[in-house]
């Protein structure tokens, strides 16, 4: 623990290496996921030709269509083409509609990011406040209530929460629309009206997870000797938690947040369906149903990238915040 000359710069270079290795690792995971998804999807029964022809398909028609769509090629060859395209930034064309995949995905992605962003904007501050408060007044009435609420929300299936929410707020009370018709947004007020329900539903779930994790991290830090020291300095709880404890909890807290947020892109099938919100998850489900492999692949890629981006950033933040006090 001696202050070695240049220990800081050494720390930086170490951190640099750590960051690089994390990024490399993320890339590796990415490849793994893509291959897995492709293997599974190509194992799916039936293909897009069946979807296109539907009930009335005749064997010869199906065969002809397969040829037209190059579905007769072996799987690895199709994957090769797809991967090649992907590397050159071209996700290919949807087998179902013939349109470029990007045309299909981008608007949906935009919607999903909008929803995820709105949810994050609401839930992160909320969770932080609640989590910190719980840690601060641990065992107090506030802590108990919040703990119970979080428990209650995570212990009921999401689709029920969502459906119930719509039925009560949109149908019975008529205070919000039952559909998330983003086309109709022209003002902030409309934006709020439209996003209120889905965001609240998603928030109720994500906040629950975050609060629990943040609370745990904070309590962990609050048991450190330097916190007792702070108490003996006569500091106020607020000062202790915000100025003394939080800086040490940043790593794990950020990690907790990232984990909860990472599910906001792909993990929201239910909400998208119930509120008929045109997002990525829905697209992927449809594309799976239609066996539109290129689209499925692209969606999976997006989800994976989003997840890895979030968690990796969190890790890096953690590393950064730890590097200062690494060998302390």
């Amino acid at each position: 623990m001696k202050g070695r000359p240049g220990s800081l710069s050494a720390g930086r270079s170490v951190m640099g290496r750590l960051v690089m290795s994390r990024l490399g690792a993320a890339g590796f995971s990415l490849v793994f996921v893509i291959v897995t998804i492709f293997v599974i999807t190509s194992a799916l029964p039936g293909d897009v030709a069946d979807t296109l022809l539907g009930q009335g398909a005749t064997p010869e028609a199906t065969a002809r269509l397969r040829e037209a769509l190059h579905l007769d090629q072996p799987a690895w060859l199709r994957f090769w083409h797809w991967a090649g395209g992907m590397l050159t930034g071209d996700p290919g064309r949807s087998l179902l509609t013939g349109h470029p995949v990007s045309e299909l995905v981008l608007p949906r992605l935009h919607n999903s990011l909008l929803l995820a962003g709105a949810t994050a904007a609401v839930s992160v501050p909320l969770a932080l406040a609640a989590g910190l408060a719980c840690a601060m007044f641990r065992g107090g009435w506030f802590d108990r209530i919040v703990t119970f609420l979080t428990l209650a929300t995570v212990s009921v299936p999401v689709f029920l929460i969502a459906t119930l929410a719509v039925f009560v707020f949109a149908v019975q009370l008529k205070i919000v629309p039952s559909l998330s018709d983003i086309g109709s947004i022209h003002s902030v007020w409309q934006f709020i009206r439209v996003f209120l329900m889905p965001v609240l539903t998603l928030t109720s779930v994500t906040v629950a997870q975050m609060v629990r994790m943040i609370r745990a991290c904070m309590i962990d830090v609050l048991s450190a000797p330097y916190i007792e020291m702070a108490v003996l300095k006569g500091l106020s709880p607020q000062r202790i938690v915000l100025l003394n404890a939080l800086p040490n909890a940043i790593g794990p807290v950020v990690n907790a947040i990232a984990l909860s947020l990472s599910s906001l892109l792909g993990g929201v099938v239910v909400v998208e369906t119930v509120f008929s919100y045109p997002g990525m998850a829905g697209l992927m489900v449809e594309s799976v149903a239609a066996r539109d492999i290129p689209v499925v692949q692209c969606c999976a890629l997006v989800f994976c990238v989003a997840y890895l981006a979030l968690t990796t950033t969190a890790d890096i933040v953690g590393i950064a915040s730890a590097s200062r006090k690494r060998d302390a």
Binding site: A25, A26, F28, S29, L30, F32, V33, T36, I37, I40, T41, A43, L44, P45, T147, L151, A152, V154, S155, V156, P157, V158, F159, L160, T163, L164, F167, I219, S262, S263, L265, G266, G267, V269, V270, T273, A281, M284, V285, V288, A300, F303, C304, Y307, L308, T311
Partner: protein, 269 residues
């Protein structure tokens, strides 16, 4: 080994509470269906979403079947599927998690990344894909959920194990020249049982909820059998009439998850 029996003898209260609760549900799952007044497929009344009555103790479902009977079967399937998948995922996760703390670094490098990859696939979509491929059946569901929850359990147990491996008694065992498997099974594992148990409990809850949400994508056990989630899902229209058919199964799910959650919280800290 004598010390193992010693372990059995003194299980901490928190752990014991969890085990009791789980076994209680297991018992209900085993015996419940025997108490069912009707077969799960029988239509006993022309009235759908019927109210509680002497004839149908918990009302009727969307086809006029006896909800009580279906609920009992639902509990069996949900509990069974979730317990099996949890057991599978945790066994695999825990073993790998601990093993990677005593194996060469590169093993963890690779394995950890694969786990990350698995984690990054949205669980609902992953389940959808697998079940669509493997066909809709209890084994398929169990396996899928096992895969989905393995990475989590892997991470937790590895984190726990990492703390323990640094302990001097592990060093001592190594200095003595003990084998890896001995160190994993006898030196490390016994010291993580409590935190692991609460982790397993949590995973069980997640499994219950995931299974329930899977029913939203129409995945579940084959009719006329049913799991709790599907029970809620298939009767969801009854919500408009406040039918017991949708309220009761929801309550049961909540009971299952909240119960275990509370026990864990009390077991913890």
């Amino acid at each position: 080994m004598r010390d193992l029996f010693a372990l059995r003898r003194k299980i901490p209260p928190g752990t014991r509470r969890i085990l009791t609760l789980l076994s209680a549900w297991l018992l209900l799952a085993l015996l419940g269906p025997m108490l069912a007044p009707h077969p799960p497929g029988e239509i006993i009344s022309g009235e759908v979403f019927g109210p509680v009555s002497a004839h149908a103790w918990l009302g009727t479902d969307y086809l006029g079947r006896d909800l009580c009977s279906r609920l009992l079967w639902g509990i069996r399937y949900t509990v069974a599927i979730c317990m099996m998948s949890t057991a599978l995922s945790c066994c695999a996760g825990i073993f790998l998690g601990i093993a990677t703390t005593v194996t060469p670094v590169w093993v963890e490098r690779v394995l950890g990344r694969l786990m990350d990859g698995l984690l990054s696939i949205p669980s609902l979509l992953f389940a959808l894909l697998v079940v669509a491929t493997a066909g809709e059946s209890a084994p398929a569901l169990i396996l899928t959920m096992a895969i989905i929850y393995m990475p989590g359990s892997y991470r937790t147990s590895r984190a726990l194990a990492l703390r323990i491996v640094r302990m001097d008694y592990i060093t001592a065992a190594r200095a003595r020249g003990e084998t890896r498997s001995f160190i994993i099974l006898w030196e490390i594992l016994p010291n993580m049982t409590d935190p692991l148990l609460s982790d397993i409990g949590l995973r069980f809850i997640y499994a219950v909820l995931l299974l329930s949400n899977l029913s939203f994508l129409g995945l579940g056990v084959q009719p006329p059998m049913v799991d709790l989630g599907s029970l809620v899902r298939e009767n969801i229209l009854g919500m408009a009439y406040g039918a017991p058919a949708v309220v009761v199964p929801t309550l049961v799910i909540a009971l299952l998850t909240v119960g275990i959650n509370l026990t864990l919280d009390r077991g913890r800290v």
